[in-house]
């Protein structure tokens, strides 16, 4: 197995640990690359196509390398009603990013998520896991600026 992925040995190689293994790869690498798929196939003794099948089924898995600051805009019911589509418009105007894209300089990437569970603070987004609520245009612009300068 590719020694880069030797950390997979931390978990058992039974096939029912496959999702756990892929989560481990993603949390280490930021996404699951073709090399990651090959390593998982070897470790869990499963065909590569089956790994690809599991990856494409679950929304959590990314096959494209995310940016340094990963933005998740919540589009749960409450956020949708409170204007999450506006949040997308604003981000597109500020950063030129559409959901699923990473900026050319690799500083930002954008994703839409189903629900961050902070519905009472709608509209909500998270950057690198930190949640920002009650967004308006000004607040959003300031948050993005702070991250761009970090």
């Amino acid at each position: 197995m590719n020694p880069e992925f030797a950390y997979l040995k931390k978990i058992g190689n039974e096939p029912n640990n496959l999702i756990k293994g892929l989560q481990l790869i993603q949390s280490t690498e930021g996404y699951v690359s073709d090399d990651g798929i090959r390593a998982a196939a070897e470790y869990f003794s499963l065909p590569e196509v089956e790994i690809e099948g599991v990856l494409s089924f679950y929304a959590q898995f990314k096959r494209v390398k995310p940016g340094k600051n990963h933005i998740c805009v919540c589009d749960g019911t409450a956020c949708h009603i409170k204007g999450s589509s506006q949040v997308h418009t604003w981000i597109e105007q500020e950063l030129g990013l559409k959901p699923g894209e990473t900026s050319d300089d690799g500083v930002f990437s954008l994703e839409t998520v189903a629900c961050l569970g902070c519905c009472s603070l709608a509209p909500v987004m998270s950057i690198n896991g930190k949640v920002y609520g009650k967004l308006d245009r000004k607040k959003l612009a300031k948050i993005l600026k702070d991250y761009a300068e970090k």
Partner: protein, 567 residues
């Protein structure tokens, strides 16, 4: 009167509002007064919240606390600023049983839970025979809180009756309904209560292996559960009938369909989470072929309450067919969003208007059951909330998400939103669900874009019926509900979109333009400065072709001279 100790709500909602900064500063300044981080206090609209518990046991609540010296000093001096009374209506209408300890105990402190009656339910269960515990559950009348409403006691008796070497117990914590956060709050705030419920279930059914299948999007819930499991191991509470039970947490990977039990089991086995035909039911053959039982987080959260006080006592609360209390995540167009717990049978009006503080003149409907449910118009708000009454109206109880929809929201757009969600989440196994929901979504997209045809409405109805009949699992069987329910109560909105190209609520951008009223305009140029696409000319005329209807100009206009009007 001096402060005995301080509580800060540091569940996810609190942290998102800045409660961690408040807690740190409070700790720094409070000297010897203990500062305890607790879970969800339930009043999300007032976060961050600090509760100062005084020597005589009474409390002062502070709302919207900022991590600045002035706010903290005010609290430590029991000052008047930012004080907050729990609204009278809410105190009267709520009945707090499952959430009794949420916001009261430190979720990571085992002794705190024990000191407040924790594991009394398990102790009582162990003094009974497993059959007697199942009987208590049957007596209680508890029905599955995940939305299905299957009688819990009966489910337990199925697993208990199985003879097998290995029996599996699963807690479904894959709270996937957008707009629902009951299970997250419960796990973050009182993780031990959920685990106590699982241990009681394990004793009653003879289960040997326990799993919690939790959304990966809930890192704090997972962290608190992990800490609690360690504490259970240390105190050997997992040793039942001389056998040490294993409790595992498995993180879901973001698939709504995994709320369906056969999909959840497939996902636990490391596979694509597609549902399968039943029978065999999971209690006959589930995880890796072992007899398996799945209950929802809130269902387990009810179990210690039932065992502590007895099933008969529990059954005194609620309605004929729906016993006990129900948690609701109240959100949307209302003043006081939050997590509430009410007895079954409370009316929608009491929940939305009295507890939620919504303005009756501004509310159009409420959506229960998320993307699987339906809307209930404000005219029917005297309906009591229980499994059967909601079903009769074309909605469902669901897991407890309750979204208030204001008069300024378009119901066609709301339906489009839910179908956008379900058509993407359809796992693709059943043709009707896979292609049917996509066709429904495309039709709705067409209607909100002003390109709908009159026959689209009949097409939606026809597709809806066929998808319900032709799908294997709950996702497909309920996916058309938001469309069918809005067609039932708001057909005129669909017709207005299709026939007259009018969106009554002025929400659908394709059917709306922005108009500047020159007589109100003071020519401050704020709109021109804030327009992201330069659609406003120097003589204050909005170019409808350039305008993206983003409302930026409306929001900044000091004279409210700009409004949305029909094309």
């Amino acid at each position: 009167m001096s402060i005995k100790f301080l509580r800060v709500g540091v569940a996810s909602c609190g942290i998102a509002s800045g409660a961690d900064g408040v807690m740190n500063l409070l700790k720094e300044k409070a000297g010897n007064t203990p500062v305890i981080g607790v879970g969800c206090i339930g009043h999300c609209y007032a976060e961050p919240i600090v509760e100062a518990v005084l020597d005589d046991g009474s409390s002062i609540f502070y709302r919207d606390v900022k991590p600045v010296d002035a706010d903290i000093d005010n609290i430590l001096a029991c000052g008047e600023e930012n004080r907050f009374e729990i609204p009278e209506a809410r105190r009267k209408k709520e009945k707090v049983m499952v959430l009794a300890l949420a916001g009261k105990v430190d979720p990571t402190n085992f002794d705190d839970y024990i000191a407040n009656g924790g594991y009394e339910g398990l102790k009582r269960a162990l003094s009974l025979t497993p059959e007697e515990v199942v009987n208590e559950m049957k007596l209680s009348g508890l029905r599955g809180r995940g939305g299905g409403g299957f009688p819990t006691g009966m489910k337990w008796s199925f697993l208990a009756a199985k003879q097998a070497e290995e029996k599996i117990l699963i807690c479904n914590a894959d709270e996937g309904d957008p707009g629902a956060f009951m299970d997250r709050s419960l796990m973050e705030s009182v993780p031990h209560q959920v685990l106590e419920g699982m241990l009681i279930a394990a004793y009653a059914t003879g289960a040997t292996k326990l799993f919690i299948y939790c959304r990966a999007e809930y890192p704090m819930a997972i962290k608190h559960l992990k800490i609690a499991i360690e504490q259970i191991y240390e105190n050997k509470l997992n040793v039942i009938n001389g056998r040490a039970l294993e409790i595992n947490i498995k993180e879901g990977a973001g698939a709504f369909v995994c709320g369906e039990e056969t999909s959840l089991i497939a996902s636990l086995e490391g596979k694509r989470g597609t549902p399968r035909f039943r029978p065999p039911f999971p209690t006959d053959s589930g995880y890796l072929g072992h007899p398996t039982m799945i209950n929802n987080v809130e269902t387990y959260g009810n179990v210690p309450v039932i065992l502590r006080n007895g099933g008969a006592e529990y059954a005194k609360i609620g309605t004929e067919g729906s016993k006990g209390t129900k948690l609701f995540a109240l959100a949307g167009d209302l003043k006081n969003p939050g997590l509430i717990e009410v007895p079954m049978g409370t009316t929608l009006a009491e929940i939305v208007f009295e507890i939620g503080g919504a303005d009756p003149a501004e509310v159009k409907a409420v959506q229960t059951g998320g993307p699987s449910g339906g809307c209930i118009p404000v005219e029917l708000f005297n309906t009591p909330v229980d499994y059967d009454s909601l079903k009769a109206l074309g909605a469902i109880m669901g897991s407890g998400g309750m979204i208030v929809i204001g008069k300024n929201r378009c119901m066609v757009e709301t339906a489009r939103y839910f179908l956008d969600f379900t058509h993407r989440e359809s796992c693709g196994k059943c043709t009707f669900c896979r292609i049917g929901t996509t066709r429904m979504f495309e039709t709705l997209e067409r209607i909100v874009a002003g390109k709908g045809k009159p026959e689209d409405i009949t097409l939606l109805e026809e597709l809806g019926k066929k998808i319900k009949a032709g799908s294997l699992c709950g996702l497909g069987q309920t996916a058309p509900n938001p469309v069918l329910a809005t067609l039932r109560y708001y057909r005129h909105e669909y017709e207005a979109h299709v026939n007259d190209h009018v969106c009554e609520a002025l929400q659908c951008n394709a059917l709306v333009k922005l108009k500047l009223d020159q007589s109100k305009c003071v020519k401050c140029r704020m709109c021109i400065k804030n327009c992201p696409v330069d659609a406003i000319s120097d003589d204050f005329v909005i170019d409808a072709d350039k305008c993206t209807r983003c409302n930026s100009c409306m929001d900044v206009c000091p004279k409210k001279a700009i409004s949305r009007v029909s094309e």
